[in-house]
Amino acid sequence: MSVASDTMNILYERAEQEWQKIENNEVPVVYIGSATCGRAAGALEVEDVLKRILSANGKGVIFLEVGCMGPCVFEPIVMVQEPKGIPICYAPVKPEEAEQFAKKVLLEGGVWKEKLLGAFSTESYKDIPPITAHPMMSKQVRNILRNCGLIDPENFYHYLARGGYRAFLKALGMGSEAVLEEVKKSGLRGRGGAGFPTWRKWQFCREAPGDVKYLICNADEGDPGAFMNRSVLEGDPHSVLEGMLIAGYAIGARYGYVYCRAEYPLAIKRLEVAIKQMYDNGLLGENILSSGFSFDISIKKGAGAFVCGEETALIGSIEGYRGMPRPRPPFPAISGLWGKPTVIQNVETLANLPLIIGNGADWYLQFGSEKSRGTKTFSLAGKVKRTGLIEVPLGITLREVIFDIGGGVLNDKQAKAVQTGGPSGGCIPLSMFDLPVDYESLTSAGSIMGSGGMVLMDEDTCMVDVAKFFLTFTQAESCGKCTPCRVGTMAMLAILEKICEGRGEMEDLRSLETLAYTVKNGSLCGLGQTAPNPVLTTLKYFREEYEEHIKNKECRAFVCGQLISYHIDPERCVGCTMCAKNCPVNAISGERKHPHQIDQEKCIKCGQCLKVCPPVYSAVYRKSGSRVRYEPIKEKGKK
């Protein structure tokens, strides 16, 4: 043990020196939020402009490309920390504003009030309110995301300086059995969705006979609408890898794999860098820190199959076969990769381990609720005002997440439902928004916690279309091995398509339900067993929308193309030609300054004309069945 701490102490000393450059900085530090979402919003272009201007002016600045800070809606996000100061968060700093930003904030040392998000601290700093007072942040507890946005994810020393690998050292001192006991005490449950107690999985594997055991980190985050794991891997990869060391040690694994989606190239790159740093510093390989524990980690890139998130399919994929699930038992903990005992854990489950071991289970128990302990990250997306990556204690209500953190519905529309758990989950209606976010409550509502996707739907979202969307997804991703899933999802999709196209009959609803239960009960793996959830929950909570599609041939959200038509009110239209210019299929005709018309034969119902028609005229309206919807006329200058 002393050898271990000696080796690490040298590293910690060096890390501290490195970190002091940031914490007690002599020159300003500029943090650029450059995870995938930041990059998509132009973060790297902003960085280029800032660098160019600063070097032209001979000003020395440290640039840090950090991971996701969370409030993705405000991207690109830039933080500036004056010498020996506290980081001040600005957003959005768009590429075209970067030059002004460089001059105003970095060269002149001023504060750009309009762009201020807050000071990165818990108290006010120079009259700037702390970011924790921002409504998006005040209810969050950032444990797993503690380093995201603050450290350079490719700098090993940054992670060390923030307490990294101390939990692993502690684990080595405790012994593997005590580590398992601590995790058991913490009540940690799998964050991949199903919520199986982590310790129990470990115990099965520990007790299973076998010379070689494996640990797999499941980073095949396939749920559409979810990006929590991507954010953690991009922003703080070592926290997940340290979790792998702890889990690997606890179960007695010799080899670890990270199975990561190929759709996440940046996350894969960050993992590669981090794993190399671990090898270079003796944290992986033979006899780690002379503890007698040997562990290797390598990356396996997924190849685009949603079903590979299922553990037995994932194992098949690593072995080089089609990613098809096999019946359980035997569970992978007994017979997994190449027939050896294998534990598979989600990214976030692993990221929790350094916290639990480092701070102790008692500390961990203060977060969350009775049966769902700890915090959980969610990706908040869809029709919510403030989208982003959030972390909250379990047990918080959906209302708090959507309205307090998310700021409510985009464009002040009416909220309709929130979708949790991706294609395996369901839609929970507005009337149930006081439901606490924990494993049991979400399951009792017909949905699941899932890995953490939360997509808000508003009055403009058609629930039948949403059900169809998910079924289209699961049907395409069904591996085809078992009949209920292969044929059942196809048959369900056919019915949903029929309803959306206005050819549905009331009897279809009964068939849909029967099929749903058949697929749910008869499928081999989690994909099929949960695929009907989006259909069942929408049938349960939004049955009237199905009935309207069938009986009245109308779609109240004006989404289902076959049931709606776009028109231009000649009384309102002034012939500004905006709609005609933007119509992708040239279906709109009319002379300038004269009312326009839409050719219903040509129209593809894309809704562009409605979007571009100036709100002072709002001349485009929609019809569906007996419903007619006009957009309100807004006077110029008024919002």
Binding site: T36, C37, R39, A40, A41, C72, V73, E75, E221, G222, D223, P224, G225, A226, F227, R230, S231, A262, E263, Y264, P265, K300, K301, G302, A303, G304, A305, F306, S317, I318, E319, G320, Y321, R322, G323, S379, L380, A381, G382, K383, T387, G388, L389, Q419, G422, G453, V455, M457, T461, V466, F469, F473, C479, N582, P584, V585, I604, C606, G607, Q608
Partner: protein
């Protein structure tokens, strides 16, 4: 392929084989690397991988065709991928697909006859907070509107015609 191309191809393939032992579990990484440099999985590649791993070409094809990542036709010069995630769906990704179809005259999964563009639908790329997202030649574009996608396509067309 002319003899020179064939020679270069076999050379590259050997480089890949040198990195992975002839085990079954090397199959997917090898396919991924081949696609990285070739752009797709050719029949010739399937046959040579089969020889190297000692499994039948049909077995290799069976695995490759299971995963959506692998393509069996040469892709266009520019690859446009429209995200099909939930957040992108509720924020109008279908409309983007319609606009691109109209603009390029191809369906998802197809390549324009001049070999310039390939249109693909992809699974969620995790950029949900800034939906709808489109990836063009590996670069992610956020909050894409029909006007913006038209502009992006036009720029790519111009770049191609300049070269």
């Amino acid at each position: 392929m002319n003899p020179m191309e064939e020679f270069l191809f076999s050379d590259r393939l050997r480089e890949v084989f040198n990195k992975y032992p002839p085990h079954r579990s090397s199959l997917i990484p090898i396919l991924q690397e081949v696609q990285d440099f070739l752009g797709y999985i050719s029949e010739q590649a399937v046959n040579q991988i089969a020889d190297y791993l000692g499994v039948s070409p049909s077995e290799i094809y069976g695995v490759a065709s299971f995963y959506t990542q692998f393509k069996f036709n040469p892709p266009g010069k520019h690859i446009i991928q429209v995200c099909q995630g939930t957040a992108c769906h509720v924020r109008g990704s279908k409309m983007l697909v319609d606009v691109i179809k109209e603009e390029l005259g191809i369906e998802p999964g197809q390549t324009t006859p001049d070999g310039e563009f390939t249109l693909e639908r992809v699974a969620c790329i995790g950029c949900c907070a800034l939906a709808p997202a489109v990836v063009i030649d590996g670069k992610v574009y956020a909050q894409v509107t029909p006007a913006k996608i038209r502009e992006l396509i036009t720029t790519k067309k111009e770049v191609s015609s300049e070269v």
